[in-house]
Amino acid sequence: MIDFDRVTFTYPGAPHPTLHDVDLHIPEGELCVVVGRTGSGKSTLLRAVNGLVPHFTGGLLAGRVSVAGRDTRTHPPRELADVVGLVGQDPAAGFVTDAVEDELAYAMESLGIAPAVMRRRVEDTLDLLGLVELRDRPLGTLSGGQQQRVAIGSVLTAHPAVLVLDEPTSALDPPAAEEVLAALQRLVHDLGMTVLLAEHRLERVVQYADRVVHVPGDGALLEVDTPARVMAAAPVFPPVVGLGRLAGWDPLPLSVRDARRAAGSLRDRLTDRAPVRPRTTPPGGVVAEVRGLAVTYGPIVALRSVDLRLHHGEVVALMGRNGSGKSTLLAALVGLLKPSGGRVTVGGRAPYGRPAKEVVREVGLVPQEPGDLLYAETAAAECAQADTDTGAPAGTTAAIFGRLAPGIGGGTHPRDLSEGQRLCLALAVIMSAAPPLLLLDEPTRGLDYTAKARLVEILRGLAAGGGAVLLATHDVELVAEVAARTVVLAEGEVVSDGPTGDVVTHSPGFAPQVSKVLAPQRWLTVDEVAKALAG
């Protein structure tokens, strides 16, 4: 169905090709997962399928890409719209209309499909993706998960033979991600659709894959094989594979279910051992306190009555479904929002209404899109600007950045940095004011396992130095690694607050893979298990 014949692609002005001698043949009805580190060329590979690369991006493509027998050399993306549906990384950025139903119908209108057929397909798609209640809603009012499902629906209605998705679940909470993946699963099984998708969160998708394409980057050849074989050697792998490698299971399990069936002996070996974890409430004093906080946007209540205390030296995870009020709580903690009720105190004073220059010394927030914080032409200029902004001695920010992400030239434009590097630069900018409380909103969006491991180290270092970190995230595996305490929000209220081990193992949606495999024992990460086995 999708054929790459000896494809080499170089972006205009780039010294090296991004795709090098790619030979890839994906038969009809296969679900194929593309894995690889950030910046290895996954998105380029996906966008070459419908011809956006090179028709839209420019650059030089040698070799042949064809889909359903149509060569992308002679067919620009619009002439492939009836065979390839492409969903980009940020679904909201690709919306053309302003209401759910119109968005679903848009591609069909362009293809000239008969009105009666259009109507039926829109209804089918609304059912398939669970969007019925949202059909009349303006797109701007949808949550991230809903937007993602609308974006998938908007290409599905054209009944393409091939569906290409770039990180479809990276912005979604675990239940919403499962919903989207279940819908994809149904498309592959019931409609025989060919699906090609890139994803960093392998723990979510690898079990559904028929084959895995590993893009190593650096001009090396693609590895294409069954998931088990690729996972045995790949540098990026989900926790369940890590556990399998540790225990030496063969065949390597890819799903929690397979792993549980193999895990009997491992559970026996672990029975009288317990994970070593830091104490929940470290001896440090209170950094910030939230009492009865309520925030409303017009008639919408974002936070109802939230109580929370953050102490020196702890990393706290803030979880909850999309739209549960996590970002609002963070915004209130840095004084971006005026509380409608209750009190927020950071460093003993309310942050709202104080001059920005004072607040940044008490609390720093890295927003969901770290790029928002960066405007300078080069990383070095960004660091210098941060020094002047916060009044730190010259070179402070550059030194922090060098520690967080070593070996990056100061002349690099912030937009040319990878997601992980950009996050490090934004972190360095915020940390230059040395705030005792650091807030992070969804820091792992777009990060691969290597960048995530680096982030875990950084956060642990901060906590060890007496700082407090509050981390809003959907990434249960990251929470298991780094946070001793977890707070779960729902409908603007705190529904649980306690040690991570207790909170996440209680709900199946939020439990990390290792804890699911080894339940009822309470292990959270592969590291914990490895240490217990060694010790």
Partner: protein
């Protein structure tokens, strides 16, 4: 009459509002003008949708108040005072002889304030009518009704309209980010610091949307030969120019009637021919097109009725009450009938589905 709730064809609401605006343009009688605004407001309250543009009426109403204020202040400062009751006297600036008829300051009379107020009110009420049209049927829905030949243009305008709210969202995000870095948001440097990232963000979004539209089939060759496309474009453009000239004639009571209706009719004919020619062979279709049924015709007729009564009364004292000497404005019977006719759609038109009030 209780028809099944449904969305009325947006064109019907817009034509109804155009009728109302035409009536408003024909009079300076404050009683009639306020009644027209009230009719528009009542219809918005009864039939507005739940789309974001449904708040447009209030926005346009506020804009209208600003217009009245500006008109009155300017007339007081610079306008030639009508003789009559002096309210207060401002110090007058003496101007040289070569500027006769220009005045700064001086006495302000009740009569000149009233004249300026009436004219400001007329403009404000016309703005209200546009606001009502926006609230009753969003412009995006109106654009969905463009004929197939103009499909691509319509989509481009819809995308452009979603752009403004996006920019506002980006501005607030960038301002928040600046605060997080401890930078000033005010002053010249603040504005420059916000403008650059906002522009960059807007450009990036445009590229994203373009890529998305391209991969979803925007601009597929519809199989139209070049000559047909040219002919379509020429006829449509000429037609639209005719409509524009004709509308000017209709709205401006000083223009001879010859330029009004006939020009509109000719323009509509030309544009329709051009679009029909183009649409006949395009391979685009419409999802759930709005249909044109009897209630739509009734609503349009009601809008036309009020316009017709006001045009029929003509430039009499009833529509243009005297301000010098100042007289109490009357309420002409025929105009009242027109107003009542314009109010009829609140019973005749089907109610909006899915709204709980």
């Amino acid at each position: 009459m209780h028809p099944v709730p449904r969305h009325l064809h947006p064109g019907a609401w817009w034509l109804w509002a155009v009728g109302l605006a035409t009536a408003a343009s024909r009079t300076t009688n404050p009683v009639l003008l306020l009644l027209i605004a009230a009719v528009a407001g009542y219809m918005v309250a009864a039939r507005r949708t739940n789309s974001p543009s449904s708040r447009a009426y209030v926005v346009f109403l506020r804009l209208g108040l600003v217009v009245i204020a500006i008109r009155v202040v300017l007339a007081g400062l610079f306008g030639a005072a009508l003789p009559g009751h002096t309210l207060l006297t401002l110090p007058q600036v003496a101007l040289p002889d070569w500027a006769p008829g220009v005045r700064i300051g001086g006495p302000i009379t009740l009569e000149s304030v009233a004249a300026a107020g009436y004219q400001g009110l007329r403009l404000a009420v016309m703005l209200c009518c546009i606001g009502a049209a926006n609230a009753l049927a969003s412009p995006a829905r109106l654009l969905r009704c463009v004929p197939g030949a103009l499909y691509e243009v319509g989509v481009a305008v819809v995308v452009a309209m979603t752009f403004a709210p996006q920019v506002i969202a980006t501005v607030s995000r960038v301002r928040a980010a600046r605060r997080l870095r401890g930078r000033p948001n005010r002053g010249l440097r603040g504005i420059r610091g916000v403008a650059m990232p906002v522009l960059e963000g807007a450009l990036e979004r445009s590229l994203e949307v373009a890529a998305s539209m391209d991969s979803r089939g925007y601009g597929r060759s519809g199989g139209l030969p070049q000559s047909t496309r040219w002919l379509t474009a020429a006829a449509t453009l000429a037609g639209l120019l005719g409509v524009a000239a004709g509308s000017y004639g209709l709205l401006d009571s000083g223009t001879p009637g010859l330029l009004g209706l006939p020009a509109v009719a000719l323009g509509v004919l030309l544009a329709t021919a051009g679009l029909a020619l183009g649409s006949r062979r395009t391979a685009r279709t419409r999802y759930r097109p709005d249909r044109w049924l009897p209630p739509e015709l009734l609503v349009v007729a009601c809008g036309m009725a009020i316009a017709a009564t006001f045009i029929a009364i003509g430039g009499t004292a009833a529509l243009q009450p005297s301000v010098s000497p100042l007289q109490a404005p009357g309420l002409p019977l025929l105009a009242s009938a027109g107003l009542l006719a314009a109010l009829l759609p609140s019973w005749l038109s089907p109610s909006v589905p899915g709204l709980q009030r």
